[in-house]
């Protein structure tokens, strides 16, 4: 899976779970201000990503620092590359 496919999959999974419009899902979109994802949604988001990409998220501090959709893309891409290199 290449980076573009990962980004598409992240967007699709989050749009489906949180009833978001795909056209609003730009990398610079703020999770809170633009996409309206609250603190509970962030917890759910982790579960959605874990299920979608078959990994476990233990980097709680990194997750807390995520502000934009682009940050999520970067996080998942890094995570997938880490798993691929193991």
């Amino acid at each position: 899976m290449n980076d573009k496919e990962i980004i598409e999959l992240v967007n699709t999974a989050l749009a489906e779970e949180f009833e978001l419009e795909i056209e609003d899902m730009k990398p610079e979109a703020s999770l809170l201000d633009n996409l309206g994802l609250d603190s509970l949604d962030r917890v759910d988001m982790v579960i959605v990503l874990e299920n979608q990409f078959n990994f476990k998220v233990r980097e709680e501090e990194t997750i807390r620092q995520i502000r934009t959709l682009g940050d999520i893309h970067d996080f998942v891409i890094t995570k997938k590359h880490e798993i691929g290199s193991e």
Binding site: F18, E19, L20, D38, S39, L40, D44, I47
Partner: protein
């Protein structure tokens, strides 16, 4: 302008000239009377202040409805003397500022609103909301909302959520947030979906003048959180409840 349009225009003008001053007077009366009643309640060993304020809010909503009744028809479905049975979690779609007052159509008054922060900034309502122990979900966060919500349920007070978080701008059902359903899963309390229509015609977001309408409020059968499992149980429940409310709104439109 044809005769019907002239009549409608006249009714709208009359409605706004009558209703707004009467609501202003009714709100003033409630604010003036409340300190004396609260004093009695504080002294009384039989009543808790927060429960009394929730009753007071319910009566206030009844007053709004009485003032509007010459111009607005209220229809209630699915509510009986025994249903919904408190304490429960009620979730309702949101079309208008007036939705909150329509909660006076519920057959019981002990309802704790779980709402966003901005209504707590209305200085003439905020003290009552604080005393009624309404939940400011934005400030509290979901962990605290769930804990305090659980305590209110244990005290036999039902919770009320607007899962869309804000009024619909286009009349369509908006995105549902998970908070209400997380509280249901955490506490085991049943969720009663409630469907409202007509308030968007009475007073939609962005318009200040009122228009005559028919307001329908329907309580749907309860949803048990135990029917959903796993770490995303609340999400499954959210989707299920939204589907039920959407079906009900469609049914209203086709009537």
């Amino acid at each position: 302008m044809d005769k019907n349009r002239k009549t409608n225009f006249f009714v709208i003008i009359l409605m706004n000239l009558i209703v707004y001053p009467m609501i202003f007077v009714w709100t003033g009366i409630i604010i003036l009377v409340s300190p004396f009643l609260m004093l009695v309640i504080i002294i009384s060993p039989f009543w808790r202040l927060d429960r009394f304020i929730r009753l007071f809010v319910w009566i206030y909503g009844r007053g709004w409805m009485a003032i509007l009744s010459p111009f607005v028809r209220f229809k209630r479905e699915g509510f009986t003397k025994t249903y919904p049975r408190p304490p429960c979690i009620m979730v309702i779609n949101h079309q208008s500022f007036f939705d909150t007052y329509c909660m006076a159509l519920f057959p019981f008054s002990d309802v704790t609103f779980a709402i966003r922060s901005w209504p707590f900034k209305l200085f003439w309502y905020a003290p009552f909301m604080r005393m009624a122990r309404y939940l400011d979900v934005e400030t509290l966060g979901w962990q605290a909302t769930s804990e305090i919500g659980g305590k209110m349920l244990a005290r036999q007070s039902s919770l009320l959520f607007f899962p869309e978080g804000h009024r619909s701008r286009d009349g369509n059902l908006g995105r549902f947030y998970s908070g209400a359903f997380k509280v249901a899963v955490d506490t085991g309390a049943k969720v009663v979906p409630v469907c409202i229509s007509g308030t968007g015609d009475l007073l939609p977001p962005g318009r200040w003048w009122l228009a005559p309408t028919v307001i329908k409020l329907k309580a749907l059968p309860p949803i048990d959180p135990n029917n959903f499992s796993g770490p995303m149980a609340h999400s499954q429940m959210r989707k299920h409840v939204k589907k039920k409310i959407a079906e009900c709104l469609e049914e209203f439109q086709n009537c």
